[in-house]
């Protein structure tokens, strides 16, 4: 009997892997897979009832304007379309929608089994509404936080009709607002560039992207304007019975050179006395369980993973039923996740066996954080064994999640902080250190523990020493640090912009658009110009307040305490007034962006300072006669003949570093094979040597 001849419950999942896992769990291994319109669906019987499980592939519907004319703005009328028609994805969306439509015709009941959060709700809602013929109001909801058999069976035994649908309404409103925001501003900026005579270039600035770029620009300006102030660091070597230790002057930064020298003169060779030895016992509480932001920050600290990479890896681990749903804001683990069950599962994994067994002998009560998320608990391992070989990134994130989970159950640690104060005449020196006395939870967190022990000398109050050497070192104030992907994520969280699900992607988009360079998060000239122009003509667009206000109102829609219609109307009003300003200044805006674009292009040809004339810049130049590229000096017209050949294949990129053997610039050559570094000087001594 074919699917079309039967009546069944149609279950809609968010991703194919989730559909497979769900079918395996619900059917107890007896699910049959078949192909409908080129997509895999699963069918089985459960408690005498027929089920068919199909899936989306993330969002299969997207928002767009009916006209779709890239030169036209403002655009305020938006509609939902299959993603393949709005250029977001893929032929995949069309075939999945058709498959769901076909399956919906014989379905007697519908279940939304997408991930229980804003995006999952929106995906399920759209499929039920558009592909299943308006079933979004009558479908049942299966809610789960892990893809383990236990959780999935409970979710299906406890399915309930959906009420209110705040999450889906908020999700749809967010998509509409972000589209209206993005499409209008991007078109306004792109048209300005076009009007300045530059060829068409897509310029984008999203609702959360704008303020985020604003934070980066603010920091970038501080860095570029920074003038360091000098200071001096004074350190003394204290000797007694052939043993030595070094302590720093009580004033860490001496701002006047003469004063630092005076301290040196007055202390060297004199007697010093240990005035006080203060030992303080500190109790260090176990870390709270991970929410997605905390996991992303810790993975960046421990492995250097970008937030978006961490999220992708965590989602793969979730789909493999190894960890719980990662897009959660919660730092709390409710007893309903079955602490002991998970610890028993972890006991079966060699790496964690002894530690899980140890915790099982205790009361097993985890540390809890302050942040809550009504939809999902904090990220935790499920206790299941990996069924496939995990790659390096998966092993790293899995280990971090498991160790954090174990650490949350550990007892508090104890550290001892020691501060020794030495007096040499009227001058005071200090030595501060600490060590872990009782590891507690640190034993479970292993290499991720951030505390370091320092070796301290055994000193008692009243001990006297001879001051040996005293060093005075000239130092300079450090320029402000650039944000890295992790600290930027933290800043976005603190400012209340973006969501736990979108922040990582927003940071990645800033890099993709060329507003920020990837690794160092240095704002490019283009990024600076875009923010400056918006600050001048459309300040609301980059203001944190408006974005934060919209986020708060969307949260109100999620919790069903407010409607979305008023929010949409007000957003349109805000954007319209800003667009008018941009339109009125189109020519100036275009000229400023064009200038930044040209400067970015010109910069990409500069390799570094000319080592021959010392004042010119070595650049990539193309010969008018041979059309070949080579390196030439910008002072060629005034007589500098520094030049060097370049490989003719592949892309040549500046490293902005000079060769340590000859001071000529080094470049990266990126071709079809592995990128390689090259000193452009053909007579570089290193090349001769090799």
């Amino acid at each position: 009997m074919s699917l079309a001849d039967r009546r069944y419950t149609l279950v809609i999942c968010e991703k194919p892997d989730a559909a497979r896992k769900m079918s395996e769990a619900l059917a107890g291994g007896s699910a049959k897979s078949s192909s409908v319109n080129g997509t895999t669906v699963f069918s089985f019987s459960r408690k005498g009832e027929e089920f068919v499980v199909c899936s989306a592939q993330g969002h299969v519907y997207g928002v767009s304007d009916p006209a779709k004319e890239r030169a036209v703005y403002p655009v305020f009328d938006v509609e939902w379309y299959p993603s393949n028609l709005v250029g977001e994805d893929s032929a995949g969306a069309a075939k999945r929608i058709l498959a769901v439509k076909k399956l919906a015709t014989s379905a007697s009941r519908f279940v939304n089994a997408c991930d229980f959060d804003v995006e999952g709700e929106t995906i399920g809602y759209n499929l039920l509404r558009y592909a299943c013929g308006g079933k979004e109001g009558t479908a049942l909801r299966a809610k789960f936080s892990t893809l383990t058999e236990h959780d999935l069976l409970s979710a299906f035994d406890d399915m309930k009709p959906q009420t209110g649908q705040g999450l889906a309404r908020a999700g749809r409103a967010r998509h509409a607002i972000d589209f209206v925001w993005g499409v209008n501003l991007s078109r306004a900026l792109s048209q300005s560039v076009l009007s300045s005579g530059h060829r068409y270039r897509t310029m984008s600035i999203g609702r959360v992207q704008g303020p985020t770029l604003g934070f980066l620009v603010l920091r970038e300006r501080e860095i570029r304007e920074f003038v360091p102030l000098p200071y001096w660091k004074v350190q003394g070597v204290f000797e007694r019975d052939g043993k030595k230790f070094t302590a720093g002057y009580s004033k860490e930064k001496v701002g006047v050179k003469a004063l630092a020298e005076k301290v040196k003169e007055e202390c060297i060779g004199k007697e010093a006395v240990a005035r006080s030895v203060r030992r303080t016992a500190v109790r260090v509480e176990p870390p709270v369980p991970f929410n997605i932001g905390d996991l992303q920050k810790e993975a960046y600290r421990a492995f250097g993973f970008t937030p978006s990479r961490t999220l992708q890896v965590a989602e793969r681990l979730y789909l493999g039923a190894l960890i719980s749903y990662p897009r959660t804001g919660s730092q709390r683990l409710p007893p309903s996740i079955n602490y002991r069950g998970i610890l028993q599962g972890l006991r079966e994994l060699t790496e964690y066996s002894s530690q899980a067994a140890e915790l099982l002998m205790s009361e097993a009560k985890p540390a809890q954080g302050v942040k809550e998320d009504p939809a999902h608990p904090a990220i935790h391992p499920t206790g299941e064994k990996p069924r496939r070989r995990l790659d390096f990134a998966e092993v790293s994130i899995f280990d971090l999640v498991v160790r954090r989970f174990l650490a949350a159950f550990g007892p508090p640690a104890r550290r001892e902080l020691v501060e020794i104060t030495m007096n040499a005449g009227e001058h005071e020196f200090r030595l501060v250190g600490g060590r872990t006395v009782l590891p507690g939870w640190m034993k479970y967190y292993g290499r991720y523990v951030g505390y370091k022990d320092s070796e301290l000398p055994v000193v008692f109050e009243g001990d006297s020493f001879r001051v040996g050497e005293v060093s005075v070192e000239e130092k300079f104030e450090q320029k402000p640090l650039r944000y890295n992907q992790s600290s930027l994520l933290e800043k976005m969280e603190r400012e209340g912009i973006g969501t736990k699900a979108t922040r990582a992607d927003i940071i990645a988009t800033l890099v993709e658009r060329g507003y920020v360079s990837g690794g160092s998060m240095e704002v490019t000239d283009l990024g600076l110009s875009v923010v400056e122009i918006l600050a001048k003509y459309a300040p609301t667009i980059i203001s944190t307040e408006l974005t934060r206000d919209i986020e708060e109102r969307l949260e109100g829609v999620e919790s069903e305490t407010r409607g979305e219609a008023e929010l949409l109307r007000e957003t349109v009003r805000s954007i319209a007034s800003q667009l008018m300003e941009l339109y009125a200044n189109e020519e100036t805006v275009g000229r400023e962006i064009d200038s930044a674009l040209m400067s970015a292009v010109a910069k990409s040809f500069v390799l570094g300072r000319c080592p021959i004339c010392k004042t010119g810049e070595l650049r990539i130049v193309r010969s008018k006669t041979t059309k070949k590229r080579f390196v030439g000096c910008s002072n060629y017209p005034s007589g500098c003949r520094a030049s060097a050949p370049l490989p003719q294949k592949g892309t040549v990129k500046a490293t902005h570093k000079a060769c340590e053997h000859c001071s000529w610039p080094e470049v990266y050559v990126v071709g079809a094979g592995r990128p390689w570094k090259l000193c452009v000087n053909p007579t570089c001594p290193r090349k001769k040597k090799s």
């Binding site: 304007e225 920074f226 003038v227 360091p228 050179k257």
Partner: protein, 83 residues
């Protein structure tokens, strides 16, 4: 016969350019380099106190060569040195 000197002829409106980077400017410097100039000038008395005394040119040269100095501050120090 009186001839019109070039400056009396109608001129195209010229955009002022920053003398350091060539960006649009209000006077001889763009907003970034003007701000950087303020910072460089403001830090000079602090350097003078720190070292006892320091010549303006020596100060500028130090600021220009210091790895902690920001890009715009370095450029303006070079400009003020006449480089």
């Amino acid at each position: 016969m009186e001839t019109l000197c070039k400056s009396h002829l109608p001129q195209e409106e010229e955009v002022m350019k920053c003398k350091v980077c060539g960006r649009e400017a209000v006077s001889d410097l763009c907003v970034h380099h003007a701000k950087a100039k303020e910072r460089v000038q403001a830090a000079y008395p602090l350097w003078a106190v720190a070292y006892g005394r320091i010549d303006w040119e020596v100060y500028l040269d130090n600021v220009k060569r210091n790895p902690q100095t920001g890009q715009w501050a370095k450029e303006i120090a070079g400009y003020l040195l006449g480089g």
